[in-house]
């Protein structure tokens, strides 16, 4: 109780609604994000080559790089799924109200200088549109890619069946379709990183992990007390 009292009287504490530099993206999240980004770029580049769209990489090398990168990504996703559930961070991806407001903001508000309708918070890292996009990334695009990829890698186990020819065609179709969706996602995602306060703000955030967000008094108090989240001011 005494500590609580002292924290309230602490002069360094800002009032409710004030912004603080806090560690929003933990070390593992950032590692996940950037290694995933690297792997996806590698996979996309080699994948386009394997699909016959460029031959800037020898086919055999492309196969090897693509396969190992895919295995690494699958491993990363297994760890991340584990991390998401043990830390409870999976809730970040749940559907949130206000998707239309966010869409309206990016379509119009951002151009005329309206504030973002969504306030980033300690437990609300993503806006409603982001959650929806990442959710479909993790539940639709990702699984389609790795499931079809794994089935393709295990071709030898089912190549003997009479339907293997058709099977390979369907697998290739699903894999290619999901890859195009992934490409589309990445293009929009990269662009969206430029829509912060400054064009590089979000990228810096994803590198350092710190963002300037509004905290409630209770959150501040909790952080002061427990040091559960790193805060710079």
């Amino acid at each position: 109780m005494s500590s609580n009292t002292s924290s309230v009287t602490n002069a360094s504490i800002k009032r409710r609604g004030e912004k603080h530099y806090v560690m929003l993206y933990t070390r593992y999240e950032r590692f996940w994000h950037w290694s995933q980004a690297l792997l996806i770029f590698t996979l996309f580049y080699t994948g386009l080559g394997l699909h016959g769209l460029h031959d800037w990489l020898d086919f055999s090398t492309a196969v090897v790089v693509h396969s190992y990168a895919a295995l690494a990504l699958i491993l990363l996703w297994i760890f991340t799924t584990f991390w998401n559930f043990t830390t409870g961070q999976w809730r970040q991806y749940l559907f949130k109200e206000g998707v239309m407001k966010v869409i309206r903001f990016y379509a119009y508000g951002i151009l005329v200088g309206e504030p973002h309708p969504y306030k980033k918070g300690l437990q609300r890292k993503q806006n409603a549109l982001q959650s929806l996009a990442y959710m479909s990334f993790m539940l639709l695009i990702g699984p389609t890619l790795w499931a079809s990829g794994i089935i393709y890698l295990l071709y030898d186990l089912w190549s003997g069946y009479s339907w293997s020819g058709l099977g390979l065609t369907l697998i290739a179709f699903a894999h290619t379709a999901a890859a195009y969706l992934m490409g589309t996602f990445v293009i929009i995602h990269v662009y969206m990183t430029t829509t912060g306060k400054t064009p590089t703000h979000y990228i810096k955030t994803m590198i350092t992990g710190y963002d300037n967000i509004e905290l409630t008094e209770a959150e501040v108090a909790y952080i002061e007390e427990t040091h559960a989240v790193s805060m710079k001011d």
Partner: protein
């Protein structure tokens, strides 16, 4: 130099003897000899001009028997059958065994289709039929004296042991009957066979023994197969990694294992996919497949590339990647033969044109009056197709529709979804040859003989076909025309070293080697057109969209800032 000299110093006595035997004038023979001496390397009507007569070395150690120590082989022998009798006096069962071989019977009944095949019956796309022309064609019968239908296939003395087992390199065969004047050039002076010496020097066959026929199929060096020609007598590693004379130095029978004089590796009934792989050491005597030595997962299982390649063996024959091109030993293979132009003469005489010079410098005939026009190719990318091991023959009694494109004289069966076929390489031969226009069947032609009916003498298709059909009691409408044909020869020799095997992109690319094979998906070759278009639209649309959005942000944001500033 040595070989050339040998030809030039042929004793004159021998020439006279030959001339006497052939009943042709000294003058003609002298001319012939002159030609042979000056163009000794020319692959000519004498289709087996073998200049390098040294035997190849078989490295499988010393035999338990030194045949020069056998009294029965001391001779003297007057002719081949006497030698055979001597052989069989010790190898008492060899004759019985051998008589079951296609090398003797020239006949094969396909157990699955029931078709009666074998050279004794078949139509081919080269000289069209051995049947009725045995006097010439049966030079490659492993027997003595087959010149017509009265040949005694039950007489073991007629077996020719020496053509396969001579290890001196001096044994040779000549036509069993005489041809017309158009063919007289064939009988070039040769050293008489020293029967006793040859008989005492027998051993397991070297490459040149099998090659004395199989290198020259179709009427000349490399003509038929494309992966079998005289360059394989002493190939280097690049030409054939197994037969490499300076390396593994395989004999033919290293792979074509035998059991009682029956050889594995029939092309009438091919094992196109060996799923059994390695037998126990020394166990398998039934197959000549790659898998019987290399197993069915021959690539490195510890590397991703090896694992991926092992994933190909269910659909891709080893030969498809490991024989990148055929006819790459300096000897060309024939790819096109047009019989329609045969029969042209100059001053009433047949003639030849030699407008193709092959890799080893020899000139090949591009026109012969007795045969028509030819085209050759070297370093040739094979034809690829799904193959389940079944060849489908157009035999003399097969009726076909000539309007439906080239007739496949020995087509092959297989498809991508039958679960057994693999993609195999073939040498494909295109020919335009005579057929029976009334009955829509192929024809037997009477080509060889010293009679007036033989085409190689009278240049008269109508007569040669009429007689060829009549001699074999085949119904003939009396009208002939020419039809396009294809023949296919599964490729399995000239296996390149591993480092020269095809790279992935040879097939996994647009316009790759397998472009003609449709109906299944090859990554890198195939794509889904509409999916690709949608994909480009999605990604391109996203890119254009965000760029436009960014531009708007910049422009409108600037205006806002200016407004707020003012």
């Amino acid at each position: 130099m040595h070989k050339q000299a040998k030809l030039v110093i042929n004793p004159r006595i021998l020439a006279c003897l030959t001339a006497f035997l052939l009943g042709i004038s000294n003058q003609t023979l002298a001319d012939t000899k002159h030609t042979a001496a000056t163009e000794h390397d020319d692959i000519d009507m004498n289709f087996r001009v073998i200049t390098d007569t040294k035997p190849s070395i078989r490295d499988d150690g010393e035999s338990t028997a030194d045949h020069s120590k056998f009294e029965v082989l001391e001779g003297p022998f007057e002719h081949g059958p006497e030698v055979t009798r001597a052989c069989l006096s010790c190898h008492t069962e060899a004759g019985r065994h051998f008589m079951k071989s296609v090398h003797w019977t020239w006949e094969y009944v396909n157990p699955e289709t029931g078709q009666i095949l074998g050279k004794k019956h078949l139509i081919n796309t080269f000289c069209t039929n051995a049947r009725g022309n045995e006097g010439m064609c049966a030079q490659c019968h492993a027997g003595y004296g087959w010149k017509d239908q009265h040949y005694d296939f039950s007489n073991q003395d007629n077996i020719d042991c020496l053509v396969c087992h001579d290890r001196t390199g001096t044994y040779y065969k000549t036509p069993n009957s005489m041809g017309n004047k158009a063919c007289s050039v064939m009988f070039e002076g040769k050293q008489p066979i020293q029967w006793a010496k040859v008989a005492q020097s027998v051993g397991k066959p070297g490459r040149e023994n099998c090659g004395s026929c199989h290198f020259y199929g179709g009427g000349g060096d490399g003509v038929k197969h494309g992966d079998l020609d005289s360059s394989l007598k002493s190939p280097n590693r690049q030409l054939d990694v197994h037969m490499d004379a300076g390396g593994l130095n395989f004999a033919c029978t290293t792979c074509h294992v035998t059991k009682q004089h029956l050889w594995a590796g029939s092309h009438y009934n091919v094992m196109a996919h060996d799923t059994e792989g390695l037998g126990l050491p020394g166990e398998r005597r039934d197959v000549a497949t790659c898998e019987s030595c290399h197993g069915d997962t021959p690539h490195k299982k510890t590397e991703l590339v090896g694992i991926k390649l092992n994933g190909h063996v269910d659909k891709i024959a080893c030969q498809t990647c490991h024989i990148p091109t055929i006819a790459r030993g300096g000897v060309a293979t024939m790819v096109d033969w047009d019989w329609r132009t045969a029969g042209r003469t100059k001053d009433g005489e047949g003639f030849k044109e030699k407008n193709y010079t092959q890799g080893n410098g020899d000139h090949r005939a591009t026109y012969k009056s007795i045969k028509g026009n030819f085209e050759y190719d070297e370093n040739l990318i094979p034809h690829y197709g799904w193959f389940d091991g079944q060849m489908r023959y157009t035999t003399i009694d097969t009726r076909f529709d000539p309007s439906t494109g080239p007739v496949e004289i020995n087509g092959f069966k297989g498809s991508q979804d039958d679960g057994t076929s693999r993609i195999w390489p073939f040498k494909r031969m295109h020919t335009v040859q005579p057929y029976d226009k009334g009955n829509n069947t192929m024809v037997y032609m009477h080509l060889w003989g010293d009679d007036d009916d033989a085409y190689w003498g009278n240049y008269d298709f109508a007569r040669a076909i009429r007689v060829g059909m009549a001699n074999n009691n085949i119904p003939y409408s009396g009208k002939y025309d020419f039809v396009e044909t294809y023949s296919y020869w599964p490729i399995t020799h000239m296996v390149a070293p591993g480092e020269d095997a095809l790279g992935c992109a040879e097939c996994h690319s647009r316009d790759g080697r397998l472009d003609d094979l449709k109906g299944f998906y090859i990554p890198g070759r195939d794509s889904f057109r509409w999916l690709d278009i949608l994909g480009y639209f999605a990604m391109g649309g996203a890119l254009v969209g965000v760029l436009f959005h960014g531009l708007l942000r910049k422009l409108i944001g600037k205006k806002n800032r200016q407004r707020s500033a003012s």
